[in-house]
Symmetry: C2
Subunit: 333 residues, 2 copies
């Protein structure tokens, strides 16, 4: 895979430098190594602050979601690697506005370990921290083991909803409740068509035949649930939607939001072709789509493929979803 | 190249169906074949209406720029193929709010021919139409032949600035003047690392070695100015910026906007690495960057590569650039 980079070892540093040069009106670095980024106007006094973090290589995840109406700070790791607990603590200190901090991040071993450690350190410093871990990837563990699942693109909804709640002046328990509710109400299923290549490794993370696809593959190349011949867009959409609805039954008359997420190399045109079928399938079941999102929300460098996330809405979540936000990567009025 | 599609012949139709299902609050189709899309609230009475059009496969170009503060309508062609004059006329009729219509599109043979024909038909119907053709691709013709150059990602600026002017209540001549000024002030240079594959063709549009890149290649695979070994991000940035500044000298103390555009498969991380160097190079020359844009603005399906556009700003253009807009693909507050 050809890459437009300099020394592979410097990819994350240079990406962060570019990002800060481009978006200094919205983002501020609070460490010399730029691994802790916060809203330019941090801390927002009296508001529950929300932090996330994770490995690089997934833009706009994670650092693309820092901004007004969204997250307060992010701890940035190396390529596909967890940031350190110390970076998370630095983020936490910089964003704490006196009302506590909520950590929302994906369920990966390194991230869990480091965020837990950061939580303990923050606690010793008198900053109350609560945690909600995203576990939306249906394919990563069978039903009954939801808490062991990985977090993928559906994490966007946890961010959005919790952040909108924090903006209402709600306290930490209430913001956490919304993040947990969002987590309980969202499921994601993905399909990978090609591998990505870590810049410092220089060869594909995994091999996949030129006519093959893998359903349920993780965004770091974690094995999925089924590998088989490449299917049509409609067949893929059906498979993804069915897996989600088997895992989280949604009754006719319900309202949902849908996120069709590109993994990196898949053109927007194809995401819309998949959305078309997802819409049709849900409509057949009497499920109404409110505020769909289509684009790249959580990528895996130049991996080809996509995921579908479905968020079951009630009035409370719908109202929060509709609130505006503004980040360097996406703005909603 | 693997694609998430159904029948290759139906890619454009199904993409448009998905798009309209997702964004019916912002977009309206005025033809049964969905090839003419306009703002949901069209026509806006008393405002100069702006239309564009071109082949499919370049999302968010062209149809992603229809919305408030942006374009009024778009004529959608087949993959990499011009829409018909009839489709353009249908767009024109649907968006005309009594103050005339401005066509802004890229300089490609089929588009020029069909838009000229549409212009004549509109004229016979009493709709005054003016045209500004984007010719920002430095690589496509040498200096002195600017009017024969292709239009690529820099077209975004023509749309944005003309639309912001139209929103002020300016008349058609004034809106056209701004589009022409934007066109005179913007240059783009791109680099391609891989080909894309047209769905109905099924094989790459062109061949390029696994360690090669082509500077100046067009977004349909038109030959560039130089093919050579893949260079570093910094070397590529230097080459693109130098070509632009040789063509359009910019004096120290000037203000510009910069657009780093991904062609489809190139990760956002790499675009930021390039932006970092572009910023550094311009800063060295005493050129200040105002409101940079980094992301996918004009793609070529799953082509890997990117382009850099530089727009020379004066106070008038800067003020127009800062105005908000809202489309299904991008929102600016």
């Amino acid at each position: 895979m050809k890459k437009v980079i300099n020394n592979p070892e410097n990819v994350v540093d240079e990406m962060l430098e570019g990002l800060l040069l481009a978006h200094s009106d919205q983002l501020r670095s609070v460490r010399e190594d730029n691994r802790a980024l916060v809203r330019a106007d941090s801390p927002v006094q009296g508001k529950v602050a929300i932090a996330t973090g994770g490995g690089s290589g997934h833009l706009p995840l994670f650092l693309g979601y820092v901004g007004k109406g969204m997250l307060d700070g992010v701890a940035v790791g190396n390529m596909f690697a967890s940031p350190s607990a110390q970076v998370m603590v630095d983020v936490t200190r910089a964003i704490h506005g006196g009302a506590g901090v909520l950590y929302i991040y994906g369920n990966y071993g390194g991230d869990v370990m480091n965020f837990d450690m950061a939580c303990e350190i923050a606690d010793m410093e008198g900053i109350r921290v609560e945690t909600v871990v995203a576990t939306d990837d249906v394919a990563s563990m069978p039903k009954g083991h939801e808490e062991q699942r990985r977090g993928v693109a559906g994490m966007f909804y946890l961010y959005k909803l919790a952040a909108a709640k924090a903006d209402t002046g709600a306290d930490l328990d209430e913001v956490k409740r919304i993040a947990e509710k969002a987590s309980a109400h969202v499921r994601t299923m993905g399909v990978a068509l090609s591998s990505c290549t870590l810049p410092a490794v220089g060869r594909p993370t995994f091999e996949i035949g030129h006519d093959q696809m893998e359903i349920g593959m993780g965004i770091h190349g974690e094995p999925g649930v089924r590998r088989g011949p490449l299917e049509s867009a409609d067949a893929i959409a059906l498979s993804l939607v069915n897996s989600i609805l088997e895992d989280m039954p949604i009754s006719s008359g319900s309202k949902v939001s849908v996120l069709v997420n590109g993994l990196g190399a898949t053109p927007l045109e194809e995401l819309y072709i998949v959305y078309r079928k997802v819409h049709e399938l849900l409509e057949e079941k009497g499920i109404n789509i409110h505020r769909p999102y289509i684009g790249e929300f959580a990528t895996s460098l130049e991996m080809a493929g996509l995921s579908v996330s479905i968020l079951l809405l009630d009035d409370e979540l719908r109202e929060l979803l509709d609130k505006p936000f503004s980040t360097p990567f996406r703005t909603q009025n």
